[in-house]
Point group: C2
Chain length 188, copies 2
């Protein structure tokens, strides 16, 4: 049994029953082995497994949004990126929970984990001609918005009947307008 396959199974389990429900026992059951055997693959136990799930999730998100952004530029690239992100979260609620779980592990790996995605965002912004610093601000703002929006949406935290799709487009529009304003400032 390959390590990557185990992680993938765990990720599926998270999506089906929630990240919190992942346990060595459950996972072992689903794999048809006994839980102690899992320690042959993850000597660090549940902690290591969770960390691997998190990293797997970021890799997956990275590849999904990369696909969408290829060949696009400016607003088009940013919008597709954000749509892809949101779609990813909707399809991987449990995995996304795991991905946010990188708080107890404040080390290199966690930063690297989301670095791939940050990189894609940077590239998407490259054609706007912003200063490096403004690009950083913008990427951070987009990340923050995306993470917050998707988390709240997933958790059913937005109670109002007003369309969430419209809110999403509205917010993207606001952000893109903000970027456009900055460009004007730059051109002067």
């Amino acid at each position: 049994m390959k390590r990557e396959a185990i992680i993938q199974t765990a990720a599926e389990m998270a999506d089906e029953k929630g990240f919190a429900s992942i346990s060595m026992k459950e996972l072992a059951d689903r794999l048809g082995i006994k839980s102690p055997s899992l320690y042959k693959h993850f000597s660090g136990g549940l902690d290591e497994l969770n960390k691997e799930i998190m990293l797997y999730g970021w890799r997956l998100l990275d590849s999904e949004i990369t696909k969408e952004v290829i060949g696009k530029a400016k607003d088009d690239a940013v919008i597709e990126l954000c749509y892809a992100y949101r779609r990813f979260v909707a399809e991987h609620k449990g995995l996304y929970e795991a991905m946010q779980w990188y708080n107890m592990y404040l080390s290199d790996e966690h930063l690297q984990a989301s670095e791939g995605m940050v990189d894609v965002m940077f590239r998407a912004l490259s054609s706007y001609g912003l200063t490096e610093e403004k690009k950083v601000h913008t990427v951070r703002m987009i990340r923050a918005f995306m993470q917050g929006f998707c988390t709240i949406e997933c958790h059913g935290g937005y109670g109002n009947p007003v369309s969430l799709n419209e809110t999403f487009d509205f917010a993207l529009h606001t952000i893109l307008t903000g970027i456009a304003d900055m460009q004007e400032g730059t051109e002067k």
Copy 2:
């Protein structure tokens, strides 16, 4: 021993050692009682306790930001609200984790939990003369950004050396500009 006092102690514990470290045993120890006794206050066990911590957190955040917004309007109100929110999270990392934990409990209480804060945001936006729908979009956008930014910041997820305070101000400025643009559209 009063229920509210227990919840408060648990919240302090969360801030000190992280939400994940809260256990019936730990909490009982800190309170000087045995863990089974806690079930006299929380018949629903750990789940109920966690839920109460979450609700306590939202009440607290609600009251903090309400204080800051009183007597202010427009940009001033929004900015103070957001600063207060960010400050709250910085001072209550563990509690804030608990507050986000309302995913497994998708019921009335959870919506009500954050409703107080949403209400304050609405009031802060009242003087802009936006349509109801745009107000909803705006509140959602601000909530999303705030939640994402504070979570990522708290988890140390922003690796770049660029100042986070500047990013925060930058983002608020972008959002406020967006609101201003909408007003123009309305006045026509």
